[in-house]
């Protein structure tokens, strides 16, 4: 090879680089190690993390069982080691799976179209907001305080330099539901988007219809966010929304210390061209057989450059495939049953404690710590190998005496009873 290249050593291939740019030493990194040592290294890191603890953390990231088929499928090299399916003739596997994914997201959310995934729920929110602003020509965005606090932070980072003013509206202190009066009073002719989450950050099921009515009356679009996808097995789909922006982590995506997850954006047919992200469409091949391909790509950055609907390129295809396999395994009946188990567990736990809010909740709820601070309670729980709920003071100073607890199908009754003993 060197001979063909006209050189005697590979170093000569870099001879054209100016001396001033070259690194004339080896990188200051340890020498390479073997597979065995790498496994050891990461096992040892893992041993410094929470292993063997029961956990009541939710708050956007949920502990659900991952059906074993999920890893079997996503470990196939054909899915794992393929690129974005631009060459449709040799990517029908990925394309077909994405088409099925888009379909199932529509079925779950009550929307007409869904894209092939976003990075995660938190980045889907600003993308949805920008989409609503494009569609309405109105730049102001109103977001509920009960939307995941970190999602709101991401929205404000994105919005800052796009002349997209963001304002917040509150929740009712007694119920934890949207404060619709506050929303109504903050609406104006410049507002293009209203953003709510259901179940909200406190786990409470929101009044989507009422929020939609207010948004639409003022000429704004309603964006409905979800972080707990399993709730859609039981809850009425947010069909009154114009855009749904969600996080699929609950669908067989391991918590993995915060990522990678998969977000989605779904919407009504009339907003397709405002939508960010890749889309797969059905068509035929030259022999007339059904085939799929990436479509409507003129919205995207590789064609429209600075005028694109978004800068997103890489998405979360493999993670979306995990969610697809998950939805297939559970199916119509299973997803409902799974949601019912979550509901039962959370309500069992809540029955032994006093939820702070009166609103209807799915698998999360807020409790006020009696006598002790949430942090103190958690300290006691840790000794019993239990990770308690999320203390809310960090995000909501007015709730500094409260924590957010979550129970899923994986939460054991004995652990709930142990928690109650400390909490009560």
């Amino acid at each position: 090879m060197l001979e063909t290249c006209g050189v005697t050593s590979p170093d000569e291939l870099f001879a054209h680089l100016p001396e001033e740019v070259r690194l004339n030493r080896t990188l200051n990194l340890p020498p390479g190690i073997s597979e065995y040592e790498i496994v050891e290294y990461f096992r040892s890191r893992a041993s410094q993390c929470a292993l063997g603890y029961a956990s009541f953390l939710g708050a956007g990231v949920y502990n659900h069982f991952r059906p074993v088929l999920v890893d079997t499928v996503v470990s196939r090299g054909e899915f794992l080691t393929s690129y974005t399916p631009y060459q449709a003739e040799i990517a029908q596997g990925t394309l077909t799976a994405i088409f099925e994914f888009q379909t199932m997201i529509c079925q779950l959310t009550g929307m007409d179209v869904a894209n092939a995934s976003m990075y995660d729920g938190s980045t889907a929110v600003p993308e949805a907001a920008m989409m609503a602003v494009r569609a309405t020509g109105k730049a102001r965005v109103l977001i509920a305080k009960s939307v995941h606090p970190e999602y709101r932070e991401v929205l404000s980072t994105y919005a800052k330099h796009q002349a997209m003013p963001v304002a917040e509206f509150g929740y009712v202190a007694e119920s934890g539901n949207l404060d619709l009066e506050d929303l109504e009073s903050k609406m104006d002719a410049l507002t293009g988007a209203v953003i709510i989450q259901t179940p909200n950050f406190f786990g409470i099921v929101e009044q989507v219809k009422a929020a939609a009515e207010i948004a639409h009356r003022h000429g704004a679009l309603l964006i409905v966010v979800f972080t707990e996808a399993v709730s859609l097995g039981l809850l009425e789909p947010p069909a009154d929304a114009d855009i749904v922006a969600g996080e699929l982590q609950s669908f067989a995506i391991s918590p993995s210390y915060g990522g990678p997850y998969a977000g989605i954006i779904a919407t009504k047919e009339k907003y397709i061209r405002q939508m960010p992200g890749r889309l797969v469409g059905q068509t035929t091949d030259s022999r007339g057989n059904r085939a799929f391909c990436l479509t409507l790509s003129t919205r995207e950055q590789h064609i429209r450059r600075e005028k694109a609907t978004s800068n997103i390129c890489t998405n979360q295809a493999l993670i979306a495939l995990m969610a697809t396999v998950f939805m297939t395994v559970y199916g119509k009946q299973g997803l409902r049953e799974l949601a019912e188990q979550n509901l039962a567990k959370a309500h069992y736990l809540a029955g032994k404690l006093k939820p702070r809010f009166s609103g209807k909740f799915f698998n999360e709820f807020v409790v006020r710590a009696e006598g002790k601070s949430p942090e103190e309670i958690n300290k006691t729980l840790l000794k019993k190998k239990i990770i308690g709920g999320l203390p809310l003071g960090r995000f909501y100073p007015e709730l500094a005496d409260s924590m957010l607890l979550c129970a899923t199908e994986t939460t054991k009754r004995a652990d709930m009873d142990a928690l109650v003993e400390v909490q009560a």
């Binding site: 990188l27 499928v73 993995s256």
Partner: protein, 492 residues
């Protein structure tokens, strides 16, 4: 003569919804250990849905067969060379997959106590340090989820710094050879984009740059090596021109596979850059993601990095949320941690010298392909190339065969096509990046295929124009897909 592949049977498979039948199931749930709850009571009857209309119902065997059959309709690195220019489709080591599934890491909740997350944080700390060393930069954020997300983060950092200095400025300069995400990211960060023409050698034209860099230019975004695979030999001068006017140099690190261990952007004047861990650092592309797009910066930009920042206090690691100059969050939690684990495993497996060897092999492979194919395909830019090489279809176009047709014919030979029609500055581009993980055998058979296609075009151009022939799906009608979009299945 096609040596690498032959035809074989593949299974037909209907969509999930079409093979669904009521009552079939692939799931098992444990018996409830608490009393069941009436959903209509707990949630309010008006909030409870009817069945999920159209959702599949199939058995476990049907589910595994469904996805296995689908998988066989894909090409993948595991089948063979994937020479997509600028995508760096290298082998994805399986050790990465194993360690990413280590239980204490894969099941770590982002809100679990920091005292019970030290292992995860150490992984992040080690990766930040390794990437900073590789790039010659002072600080790294691991939060961005992908390359374009990193670009946006980087441009926001520049804006924050310039704003603090009194004027965020209005424009970002971007060469016409750049990836489309560059202008799209700059636009989201609130900047106007000005395109600059490439010089005759495919680089940044210094005299043009000198004129364009005025007081309202915030930064230049360059890809180095550029999308022609050519190293920007004037990069130090480029940085000087920008810095003299108070502007910054952003580098798109998509092509770092040509530089790791050989040259460091921080040493040649770059102020901020992103890396694509799913390119240079071997994390799998997964049919389109996930990736990770860490951003590396010089000290002056460190105060603006996204919240939270990892910091060490003695033996303990902690997240610092109180950073008054930070641009804020670009993503919930701390980044695509699972991807970060894989990238660190890759760096550990190679070590410093191994990473440098990988770069040399990547460049050697690309130069070898250039020499072998130069007699058959037009090479519009003669500058020495690094990890990729760009030909044009100008010779074949005379016979009516375009780069897209050659790409489709390559499929019949058992290869994934190269990158077609990009960069746009080359009319009819064939952009080839072999990466270091291809051996001589695979590369020689790719070269044979390309030469054979060049001959076919001379004798039977029509045949090439209608390729591929050996795939289960022939050329797809993208026009009808776009004119009459069908984006979800519906019952007939």
């Amino acid at each position: 003569m096609i040596k690498k592949v032959t035809t074989h049977l593949s299974q037909n498979e209907a969509l999930l919804f079409e093979r669904s039948s009521p009552g079939k199931k692939a799931y098992q749930l444990p018996e409830l250990d608490v009393p069941a709850v009436d959903a209509a009571v707990a949630l309010g009857a008006e909030n409870v849905r009817q069945e999920i209309e159209g959702f599949p119902e199939i058995s476990e065997v049907e589910a595994i067969r469904h996805f296995t059959r689908l998988s066989t309709w894909n090409y993948a690195i595991d089948y063979g060379m994937y020479p997509l220019g600028s995508c760096t489709m290298k082998y994805n080591p399986r050790i990465n997959e194993v360690v990413a599934r280590t239980e204490g890491l894969a099941w770590a909740h982002p809100y679990q106590p920091e005292s019970l997350s030290q292992g995860c944080m150490q992984v992040m700390e080690s990766l930040e340090a390794a990437l900073a060393e590789i790039c010659g930069m002072d600080a790294v954020t691991l939060q961005p989820a992908a390359g374009a997300h990193g670009e946006l983060t980087g441009i926001l950092l520049i804006r924050a710094l310039l704003e603090k200095r009194g004027n965020p400025r209005q424009k970002i300069l971007i060469p016409d050879s750049a990836h489309g995400t560059n202008p799209a990211s700059a636009a989201i960060a609130g900047y106007a984009v000005e395109s600059i023409k490439s010089s005759e050698t495919g680089g940044v034209d210094l005299s043009a740059l000198e004129q364009l860099v005025t007081g309202d230019v915030a930064a230049l975004m360059v890809t180095n090596p550029n999308t022609l695979g050519v190293f920007e030999n004037n990069i130090v001068r480029v940085a000087e021109i920008l810095h003299k006017k108070g502007a910054m140099l952003y580098m798109d690190g998509a092509n770092m596979n040509a530089l790791v261990g050989i040259a460091r952007p921080g040493d040649f004047g770059v102020d901020v850059m992103h890396l694509n861990l799913h390119k240079t650092f071997s994390t799998p592309h997964g049919g389109g993601g996930p990736g990770a797009g860490p951003v590396a910066v010089k000290k002056v930009l460190e105060p603006f990095l996204p919240t939270p920042r990892l910091k060490r206090a003695g033996k303990k690691l902690a997240f610092d949320y109180k950073r008054k100059h930070s641009i804020g969050r670009v993503k919930a939690y701390y980044g695509n941690f699972g991807v970060l684990v894989r990238a660190l495993a890759y760096i550990q497996a190679h070590g410093g010298p191994g990473l440098r060897n990988a770069t040399m092999d990547a460049v050697l492979n690309a130069v070898y392909i250039r020499k072998a194919l130069e007699p058959y395909y037009d090479l519009p830019y003669q500058s020495p190339n690094m990890h990729e090489v760009v030909f044009s279809d100008s010779r074949q176009a005379k016979l009516g065969v375009r780069t897209g047709d050659i790409a489709k014919r390559l499929i019949d030979y058992g290869f994934h096509p190269y990158t077609v029609s990009f960069p746009m500055i080359v009319h009819g581009a064939l952009m080839i990046e072999p990466t270091e993980t291809e051996g001589k055998l695979e590369i020689d058979s790719f070269i044979d295929a390309m030469i054979s296609i060049a001959h076919e075009i001379e004798t039977d151009p029509r045949m090439v124009k209608n390729a591929p022939y050996n795939t289960r799906t022939s050329r797809v009608d993208e026009v009808t897909a776009a004119r009459k979009p069908v984006l979800r299945w519906k019952p007939a």
